[in-house]
């Protein structure tokens, strides 16, 4: 067996997007809510992920500068939370609840059906970049298990037989109530 070493010295740096000026401005808009700049980190990460689809290395460095902390402080926080990801995911992230109430009401059959329809496994993304699939702990809608969340939209009492229909619906991640754009990125166009 031969070793295949990674040439880290000459490897091209990983490409990832920078923070746009409007995004930075939006982040600065949170400064007067907290007594420290570091406390703006989690709101900022939400906004960055909304704009870029993930929190890349470059964004981590730049937000560190903006908040006057080190990039490793930022990475420390990013890596702790399961809702921030450091690499691109699908346009829509499907989160299937796996906790006790949903489990006893057949969450595994819903998850299997998602895997079948999307053709991917847990924590994978479809080749066209449209969908990622994840399992999650209790989504606080146990009275309506099994639950699936697609981006912002909660799907309740999901019957495995309906999973295909849900996943084929273009509007399956849209809320039908007025939204607040406070935590959105600066580039989001749809209201």
């Amino acid at each position: 067996m031969a070793w295949k070493a990674i040439d880290r010295v000459n490897a091209p740096a990983e490409e990832s997007p920078s923070l746009s000026e409007p995004l930075k401005e939006k982040i600065r808009g949170f400064f007067d809510r907290y007594p420290t700049k570091r406390a703006v980190l989690i709101p900022a990460l939400h906004m960055i992920q909304d704009d870029h689809g993930y929190v890349g290395w470059k964004a981590m460095e730049e937000v560190a500068e903006l908040l006057e902390i080190t990039p490793s402080d930022v990475f420390d926080t990013v890596s702790f939370y399961s809702h921030f990801w450091t690499h691109p995911k699908g346009e829509k992230v499907v989160m299937a609840c796996r906790s006790i109430s949903c489990d006893l009401l057949g969450a595994d059959r819903v998850l299997d059906e998602c895997k079948k329809v999307l053709g991917i496994g847990d924590h994978e993304t479809t080749p066209d970049g449209k969908y990622s699939l994840m399992t999650e702990e209790c989504l606080a809608a146990c009275d309506h298990g099994p639950c699936l969340m697609i981006n912002e939209k909660m799907h309740k009492c999901v019957d495995p037989a309906n999973v295909r229909k849900i996943l084929e619906d273009d509007a399956n991640d849209k809320l039908d109530i007025p939204r607040s754009n406070l935590y959105d990125g600066a580039n989001r166009t749809s209201a």
Binding site: A39, H46, S79, R98, S101, L104, L105, C138, C142, D143
Partner: protein
């Protein structure tokens, strides 16, 4: 079970219950107005006399907690705990979705009583719809002068901001929440110092649950005696109960703390009985962290004191999962063990290692590869991991311990039978995995 007139959920189902106008029409914000006409100490006093015990899980009296704040403080923060991640709990969700202004009025009253300058509403990331609803309500409240500078000409000022979490159960623990608010990983802090002395940003801080605060407008308006008149001594006041699983009417209900788990399942006011002719096998009545009851223990009262008599950690979030007789207890055991292994924050060795070790064993047991020794260990490890023996930093480890040890203790013979009878299959499965 006594007659009960809804308090916390009285606006649920009303058209436009989320709107400020509807809330005010029904007498909303009159409690806050009344509070602002009195001194902060008067407000603390009535809450103390009402003995409003925290609804977030620990049951600590809210009024007493507020008196721990140092007298000479300049800045105080109020953190509202809407992290609601304990399976299978969803009562805070209902309160925020259906009646956001009731919570905001509670925040204003608690803020005034503690002389807080900023209130942070810490909402878990998965509360998406609820976040948009709450933000809209906060905007409305600011516009009407219930937040901001010099509220209703009282001279008191309070800002109210939503801080969204990012997916971590442990951020529901009050000091984990504070760390997360500060932009850090949600690692709970060693106590003391308690948040009341040194909390968010090093300043005196009060952390209260959503449901606890939703009670305040009613206490201020109707008085401590009214509150004490509901339910048994030591467990007074309106309370929300969640029920899910194998019942006809899963949902969030309101009542006094004066009925049993059996009534919660059977009564038409609550669960409406078992569905499809199923029978109860077990119930976890206070969220999974509190532990499990067998079908013979359904007389347990849903109040603050009875759960301990049944070997449970407490009333917890008063949210019951009803497990039916077709369910394999190994599935429940494994699911619960996985939850804690996934959510342990990893600071304390025995919590980090203990929860994953237990998950490995329960996984083995479920797949028919269990050993008698696993069951022994599943009984033994929990006794050596929690805050109770003084070993860990936060209560997550105690939750894991109670959940797993009560299941193993109370369903031991069933688990042992599986292990005894499935050993032949185990070899086959082991071979299948190996190939």
């Amino acid at each position: 079970m006594s007659e009960y007139e809804k308090v916390l959920l009285k606006n649920v189902g009303k058209p436009n219950s989320r709107q400020l106008a509807t809330y005010v029409e029904g007498g909303g914000y009159s409690g806050a107005k009344r509070a602002l006409e009195h001194t902060p100490d008067d407000v603390i006093d009535v809450v103390k006399r009402a003995n409003l015990r925290g609804r977030g899980g620990a049951g600590f009296p809210a009024g007493v907690k507020w008196t721990f704040l140092p007298k000479d403080r300049e800045v105080t923060y109020l953190c509202v705990n809407a992290d609601e991640s304990e399976p299978p709990t969803f009562s805070n969700r209902v309160l925020m979705e259906e009646d956001p202004h009731q919570l905001l009025e509670g925040i204003l009253i608690a803020g005034y009583a503690t002389q807080a300058t900023v209130a942070y509403l810490y909402m878990r990331a998965e509360f998406t719809e609820q976040y948009h609803i709450m933000q809209k309500a906060i905007d409305e409240a600011y516009e009407a002068g219930y937040f901001g500078k010099n509220i209703l000409n009282s001279g008191y000022s309070l800002e109210c901001y939503i801080h969204r979490g990012a997916g971590a159960y442990v951020c529901g623990e009050e000091t984990g929440l504070i760390e997360s608010l500060e932009g850090k990983r949600g690692w709970p802090r060693i106590k003391p110092p308690f948040p009341a002395i040194q909390g968010a940003f090093g300043k005196p801080t009060v952390v209260n649950n959503v449901e606890t605060l939703a009670n305040l407008p009613h206490i201020v308006n109707r008085g401590a005696d009214w509150f004490l008149g509901i339910g048994p001594e030591g467990s007074s006041g309106p309370k929300l109960f969640c029920i899910s699983g194998a019942v006809k009417k899963p949902g969030c209900y309101e009542g006094a703390m004066d009925f049993s788990v059996r009534e919660l399942i059977e009564s038409d006011r609550f669960g409406g009985g078992m569905r499809d002719g199923l029978k109860v096998k077990a119930v976890m009545p206070g969220g999974i962290s509190m532990g499990i009851l067998t079908a013979d223990e359904l007389d347990m009262k849903m109040d603050f004191s009875d759960p301990a008599k049944y070997g449970l950690l407490g009333l917890g979030t008063a949210s019951a999962i009803v497990i039916d007789d077709r369910t394999d207890i190994r599935q429940v055991l494994r699911n619960v063990a996985r939850f804690f292994a996934h959510e342990s924050c990893g600071q304390c060795t025995q919590c980090r290692e203990g929860t994953s070790w237990m998950y490995k064993m329960t996984n083995r047991v479920e797949r028919g590869l269990g050993r008698m020794q696993d069951i022994e260990l599943l009984g033994e490890i929990p006794a050596k991991m929690g805050m109770m023996p003084g070993l860990s930093i936060c209560g997550l480890s105690d939750g894991a311990a109670f959940a797993i040890s009560t299941i193993v203790e109370k369903f031991r013979s069933e688990l042992e039978d599986y292990v005894r009878n499935e050993n032949d299959d185990a070899v086959r499965i082991a071979l299948e995995i190996a190939n």
